[in-house]
């Protein structure tokens, strides 16, 4: 598979212009990269969220592939229903094409309300790839807390007040929870490293069973950064080890991209304060009152990073 920009630019887009996503949103960037990672026919299901409401404002659509949205929490069972129909109709000889299936859901739809359904679909072994567009909060309804929101971040349902400094809890490690299902392929990716992301998406599409891709998706509105800084912010997430790039394939963890280089000492691991300072949602943590929170966050990131290094046998 060629991933040169020149070659990619010649591909027929599967997600096109005309969507209503905010300027600087990472989601269409990620979706286009994912959809370019296979030349097989694709059917897409989408959970309710920014990506869904913005891409199919009736009577228009930004999709040039078959697409279905059912509800918030059921992107995984909806696409597994499509996949089951495919298996049945193929067995009956009514379909001969080799088709791939992918679901897109935000972190609210994936970490929280749709988690049971995702877990069930993976456990049953349906062949589909689930892509989490992880912008670390419920952005569609106005920036509320999710299970993916980082500690210390302020959202409208975990505001930073005089007593509580934003979200109290660390995000749950959904990628590893999904891996615990003994899934054939799972990975974390970032849109700034498109080669790495597309390689992972390709592996996910080709996996002989369920695959999971958790992709960091900076949100200028929710994170309070300039809309021109989206890709930069995604890169910063990786360089600070807030969002390590790694994959789980055939029972083995391995770091990729910048994360691999950091682990091998070829690249410097940046302090989390760079990440916190770059975004308005963490602005309150810069006050002396909350200086210990930033330290705790650094400590937690180091702990998780070291755990990951062990898993990757580094």
């Amino acid at each position: 598979m060629s991933v040169s920009l020149k070659e990619l630019s010649k591909l027929e887009p599967r997600y096109t212009e005309g969507h209503r996503l905010c300027a600087g949103c990472a989601e269409p960037i990620i979706a286009r990269q994912v959809l370019m990672a296979t030349n097989k026919p694709i059917v897409v299901s989408n959970a309710t969220g920014c990506f869904e409401v913005s891409s199919t404002v009736y009577p228009f659509t930004s999709w040039t592939v078959p697409w279905i949205h059912s509800a918030f929490e059921n992107a995984a069972p909806t696409i597994t229903g499509v996949e089951s129909a495919y298996v049945a109709l193929k067995r009956k000889g009514k379909i001969t094409d080799d088709i791939r299936f992918v679901s897109f859901g935000g972190d609210g739809a994936t970490y929280d309300i749709g988690f049971q359904a995702l877990s069930g679909a993976i456990e049953r072994g349906h062949r589909f790839m689930y892509v989490c567009l992880n912008n670390e909060a419920y952005m569609n309804t106005g920036i509320q807390r999710s299970g993916a929101t980082g500690r210390g971040a302020q959202t409208t349902t975990c505001p930073a007040g005089s007593c509580i400094p934003g979200k109290r809890e660390y995000p749950k490690d959904l990628t590893r929870i999904v891996i615990a299902h003994d899934i054939p392929y799972a990975a974390q990716a970032s849109p700034h490293n498109y080669r790495d992301l597309m390689e992972k998406a390709r592996k996910g599409f080709d996996a002989n069973g369920p695959a999971f891709l958790n992709v960091i998706a900076p949100c200028p509105r929710g994170w309070r950064h300039d809309s021109s800084k989206t890709v930069e912010m995604a890169k910063l997430a990786v360089e600070t080890c807030v969002w390590p790039l790694y994959e789980y394939e055939n029972g083995k963890y391995s770091l990729t991209g910048e994360s691999k280089r950091i682990a091998e000492g070829a690249k410097e691991k940046r302090p989390v304060s760079d990440w916190l300072k770059a975004q308005g949602r963490f602005g309150h943590l810069m006050k002396p009152q909350w200086s210990s929170i930033a330290e705790e966050i650094q400590h937690n990131i180091d702990k998780r990073w070291n755990e990951l290094l062990k898993l990757c046998q580094i």
Binding site: I42, P59, W63, E73, T78, S84, A88, A117
Partner: protein, 387 residues
């Protein structure tokens, strides 16, 4: 001619699915529906069907899988009951809005709380506004027949709506009865080949299912379901009659018993309709001019037919095996509204009965007739409850 079988209502439905051989069945087990999916799992395990059977982790996902499969172009069936149907509630609306001909058997059971596994109609009545055609069967034979007819109704091009065929939990789902199935090839001919419309798997002609719709189009989308429901009434009527010609079993949307010359009528849906006919026979033997009316189709509600059947009667009791808290039983206002423009309206009384599987005894139903005849029934009555 197929041989007569003895089985319960759940087994009869599973048997009908075996004969239809749907492309996909996705379900979650719940009492008293469980026998359907257990039996069907056996057919799958033994290679008696070529269905892709998905044993979902919840009813919500089961219905979501049905939606995906149906939109993809598969013939789809599922089954549920009680809390399971309630758990599906959100997605029931999506299935009808996408005009997906999903067939679902519902083993009617009470809703929590307190938790109760026995029969009443709270579950199906809670789903009455979701855009699903709702049929109610009276016994094992009708459970089987309704299941087969549901595919024909759902897939009719004038309808293309999901269909729920309901049977009373335990009373029909678990009681053994004799019934006459159709021959396998006869069923195959009857339901025919499934013809999907704009399936997702037709990737060369990509279709968008379930887009975001604002105030500018949402209302029109809903109106299309209203129109399909209006058409569905005639389609159901035709399907029931055609099935009657095919099998010799006479069915209609509403079915009267000693109705024409009756002054006093009791109306019910589901298994109670059978007990009512027994009671009518007894009271007729005593010379009382009584009759009963079974409602087979609850959505779309056959208002004109009900009005015609009840016009000129002295008094009618509407038996509801569910209650809309803060109002009446769900069937009562439908019948009241149906008769509103009639010149010769009967007195209408509502009886709430049998909630949570409370027994419905012939002498109690005879008591309802007595109260109708002697005028002691109130507008709202609670049959057999200790107040």
């Amino acid at each position: 001619m197929a041989e007569q079988l003895v089985c319960n209502g759940d087994q009869a439905i599973a048997y009908s699915w075996k004969q239809v051989n749907p492309d996909v069945v996705a379900a979650y087990p719940i009492t008293p529906q469980t026998i359907i999916v257990e039996n069907f799992s056996e057919f799958v395990a033994n290679g008696e069907v070529s269905t892709e059977y998905v044993c979902a982790e919840s009813e919500h996902s089961a219905m979501s899988i049905c939606i995906g499969s149906s939109a993809a172009g598969a013939r789809v069936a599922t089954a549920t009951a009680s809390a399971g149907l309630a758990f599906m509630w959100e997605v029931l609306w999506i299935a009808s809005a996408m005009r997906l001909p999903i067939v679902m058997s519902v083993a009617n059971r009470a809703l929590s709380g307190p938790i109760n596994i026995h029969c009443d109609h709270s579950d199906a009545m809670g789903a009455r506004d979701a855009g699903w055609v709702q049929l109610f069967g009276e016994n094992v034979q009708e459970a089987y027949d309704d299941s087969l007819m549901s595919f024909k109704i759902a897939e009719n091009m004038k309808v293309r709506l999901p269909v729920m065929n309901c049977i009373d939990g335990f009373i029909i789902t678990h009681a053994l009865e004799k019934f006459l199935p159709m021959e396998d090839d006869e069923v195959k001919r009857y339901v025919g080949e499934f013809k999907p419309i704009r399936p997702l798997l037709d990737w060369k002609n990509p279709t968008t299912y379930g887009p975001f719709t604002g105030t500018d189009y949402y209302f029109e989308h809903k109106y299309q379901i209203v129109e399909a429901m209006r058409e569905a009434k005639n389609v159901v009527k035709d399907t029931l009659q055609e099935f009657g010609r095919l099998t010799g079993r006479k069915y209609d949307m509403i079915e009267g018993y000693h109705l024409e010359d009756a002054d006093y009528v009791v109306m019910a849906i589901g298994s109670t309709a059978g007990t009512l006919r027994y009671v009518v026979d007894q009271l007729r033997a005593e010379g009382k001019k009584v009759g009963s009316l079974k409602l087979r189709l609850f959505r779309p509600f056959p208002s004109a037919e009900v009005a015609k059947a009840l016009e000129g009667k002295k008094a009618v009791a509407i038996m509801d095996r569910a209650i809309s808290m803060g109002s009446t039983g769900p069937m009562f206002p439908e019948v009241c509204a149906s008769l509103y423009n009639s010149k010769d309206r009967p007195r209408l009384c509502n009886y709430i009965y049998g909630l949570g599987g409370r027994d419905v005894r012939p002498q109690e139903l005879a008591g309802v007739f007595d109260q109708l005849i002697n005028g002691t029934c109130k507008e709202m009555n609670f049959m057999g409850v200790r107040i």
